[in-house]
């Protein structure tokens, strides 16, 4: 695994495509256990991310990811804005000087991102949030020497689906208490789209 600046830009383009395509579904997920804006929030944010990163020239991976972070932070809104913003900001900080990232650097970046989200959200795994997708993905990457695209998609997807049976104890969904059970967490779903977008990049590179 080796990702350069263009790969990261492509990752964001893919992520945006996924999210635009599933915008309404994400919003629908946010209706029963939230305020029905998650798709709108994420679609707005990633559109801006793509507008930003596809028009700039970057020397390092860290620089791309920093722009991603700042854009998400200022454009997504809601709870997910600062959380995804924090994730990419922490990731970018571990890759500041890198023109390419190998598997070890990527694992360090992902771990920093996950820790950042946990701290910002005062949350941990099992609380029915995006963390429940990020954590298994980080574990997968850590434990696999070279992650395959299909593994990554499967792990993220399974993790997302697992949130369905969880009781929300953080975010808006927590207000719904027991009623939150039976619904996939919207932030988990958008995280799945982000990682499946990454898997597409890995797939392309392997072809």
């Amino acid at each position: 695994m080796e990702l350069n600046v263009d790969d990261i830009v492509q990752w964001m383009i893919n992520a945006n495509d996924n999210i635009q395509e599933n915008k309404d579904d994400l919003t629908t997920l946010d209706q029963p256990i939230g305020d029905g804006d998650h798709g709108i929030n994420m679609a707005r944010g990633f559109q801006e991310v793509v507008a930003k990163v596809s028009n700039e020239h970057y020397d390092t991976v860290g620089a791309v990811l920093k722009d991603v972070a700042v854009t998400l932070m200022s454009k997504v809104g809601g709870a997910s804005g600062p959380l995804f913003g924090t994730a990419f900001l922490q990731m970018s900080m571990t890759m500041k000087a890198l023109t390419t990232v190998d598997r070890d650097a990527f694992v360090r970046g992902l771990t920093a991102a996950l820790d950042g989200v946990k701290q910002r959200g005062k949350a941990d795994a099992g609380e029915k949030t995006m963390i429940d997708v990020w954590q298994p993905v980080v574990t997968l990457c850590k434990e696999t020497s070279d992650v395959r695209a299909d593994e990554l998609v499967q792990t993220a997807q399974a993790a997302m689906e697992k949130t369905k049976d969880m009781l929300a104890t953080k975010g808006r969904a927590a207000y719904f208490k027991e009623k939150s059970i039976g619904h996939i967490d919207p932030g988990a779903a958008s995280s799945y789209y982000i990682f499946s977008a990454l898997a597409e990049v890995l797939q392309e590179k392997n072809e």
Partner: protein, 330 residues
Amino acid sequence: MKKMINDPDRVVQDMTDGLAAAYPDKVRKIPDTTVIVRNDAPVGGKVGLVSGGGSGHEPAHAGYVGRGMLDAAVAGEVFTSPTPDQVLEAIKAVDAGEGVFLVIKNYTGDVLNFEMAAELAEAEGISVEHVVVNDDVAVEDSTATTGRRGIAGTVFVHKIAGAKAEQGASLADVKAVAERVVANVRSMGMALTPCVMPASGKAGFELEEGEMEVGIGIHGEPGIERKPVARADAIAEELTGKVLSDLDFSGSDVAVMVNGMGATPEMELFLINKKVQSILHDKGIHVYRTFVGDYMTSMEMAGCSVTLLKLDEEMKELLDATSDAPAFRI
């Protein structure tokens, strides 16, 4: 949907423009933001007070910007927290070197975005403190949830902390009195009809004809119970009862706020107030001052909330202090 809007995506921009245009002698809008600040900000020798949150709760929060209340208000998209960069703009605009105090309603999004902004401001050398308002007794506090929601009681925090800051108090002292208000304020609301999101043109939730929801949040979040629309007296009793059973108000002096959710005629708010006052009178709770009107709304939701604030002598003085904020003139 029936709304008087232009481009739904520009509703918050248009609104803040329209507000700044209404009160040009008092406030201005920071260009390329949705931040409304006092014209004279930053005010030398004074702690800056910043609040904000999702839009749709007007006059909260921009209507509370003025001498003796907020220095700035940050308007997010409808029912969506403003982003950290916007909050940071507000913080920078009002910092006069004495630090900035943030009043945050307890919603995950607001807390995350304001905290993030606070960190960014601290990184730029500005002292920032904050308080999180959680006055809504409807949804119970527990370690398992992010806690109670912040609703109309927030306006009392703005007023009292704002008056304290206007007196030239330190950041720590502003924080102390704000925390005292938060500790002593309780609210509960209800709705008869939902509100309509400008972006989708759809109601945020559904209520049957003849049905009301008690304990509902100001974004239409679930309350305690749905049941047939009750008489005004019964509604006042239920809301006031819940508030009174949450904190011991007996023998104390209180400020009362009967808040309209947006679409409810003032006529009905006065009916609710009549009963609230008689309940308090019967319990020997002395009403120091009453506010009836639309203070923390949910667009065109019909319904109301009742807020009680237990006052100490300093709070009384600060509540009575001059404010020229358009939506809270005293």
